[in-house]
Amino acid sequence: MYTETVMEHFTNPRNVGEIKDADGVGQVGNPKCGDIMKMYFKIDDQEVITDVKFKTFGCGSAIASSSIATELIKGKTVKEALNISNKKVVEELGGLPSAKIHCSVLAEQAIKSGIYDYASKNNKHYEELEGFDPEAAQEDHH
């Protein structure tokens, strides 16, 4: 059902945990389908993501998506991170079953949500976040 990459990330997830003094925290998802994803960001003055951690209550692909997404954005600029789509996450995982695509969407949303938090705290504006509603993402991502 899952690719080897998914299983590998599920078994050895990268970047699990919390960041106490995070510059941005995002939480998305909906317990209804069994998934909540929380992401913590450290972002430096050059808008580079120096650290990122996650906690996920969710299925195997939600965990693998969190893991690979955090890997993808670590060391990248905020702009670059905002351009990571769920498609990219799926690609990197070597594919997901069609019923599981929404788990990768969750990862995309968690990134956006965390950066949104960082942006509001620091009075920054990213056009990639236009139209993004962190409330909606937390309520229901379907």
Partner: protein, 388 residues
Amino acid sequence: MKKRVYMDYSATAPMREKVLEEMMDFMKTEYGNPSSLHSFGRESKNAVDTARDRIAKTLNAKSREIYFTGGGSESDNWAIKGYAFANRNKGNHIITTKIEHHAVLYAVEYLEKEHGFTATYLDVDEDGLIDLEELKNAITDETILITVMFANNEIGTIQPIKEIGAIARERKVAFHTDGVQIYGNGKVDVEELNIDMLSLSAHKIHGPKGIGALYIRPGIRLHNLIHGGAQERKKRAGTENVPGIVGFGKAAELAHENLEERIQEKTRLRDKLIDGILETIPHTLLNGHRTKRLPNNTNISFRYIEGESLLLSLDMVGIAASSGSACTSGSLDPSHVLLSLGLTHEVAHGSLRLTIGVYNTEEEVDYVLEQLPPIVERLRQMSPLYEE
């Protein structure tokens, strides 16, 4: 080789060797359509009759009251739709419960939605038991059928079938029960329990897949679900699945040898599992009634974690189980059974079902008890819901 522990017997049980042996003859040489006249066909017919006798015997029923079907789901659909369509002149109301298997639940919903029937879905208490008073109150002049499952496939709770049968009999309403899970896990006597229709499935008792049966009490009138040839006394068409029927008959016979002893042994292992988990892992909760439950069923919710991750992790150490979580059922909603007990979505998601079969050993139970705690701990560490 990696250790493999199968504890998902309620999903499907591997065929026993003796079952396969008896089937082999009919797959290899004794071919023939039992409805055919020639000797090839006659041999098949005798084998079908023997299987029917064997099953009837385990239920205290007559052979001619047993009809073979393509499985438990077909039996449920046939009983419910067949009875409803054939008796709509008497009324249009059906009573069932909120925790039925989907084969019952969706059949009833279908009759409601598409064929003008109405239905009452009885609530269950936190242990999964229906309330007999509520059942009585639900019966109206329009009620033609009560369908309440004998034992639940997820949480193992066993309903007061004898009392339900008595109420149905007294109120002159037909009584169907889905016996798929109880069969081979408890005594079923259709006379003593006043059961009018009973669904069975072979693969749950170490028989072959794709074969089931419906017991129908004489006098109970059903429309056919599958029309056509004159098989099964004209009630269920289709060339008989002779090897399947033979295998089902043998499996039924084997399952009822020393039934009592087996139940005791399964109960012992089940209790060891339940107690072991509840005692060693915090934030856990047994689902289903503690004693009125299938001897092979353990269903436990682990707070803060999600079922699929748990199953995947168990699978990686060779343990096969199932969950009431979204992801295994083809739907994203949590189990309707667990929600009916009053669990929140989140807790319902973190549940695990371990179902024991004749092949499980005490060592395997120990292995599960040893593997489970670190897995749960690891997933909880990843969970945003968990605070130590």
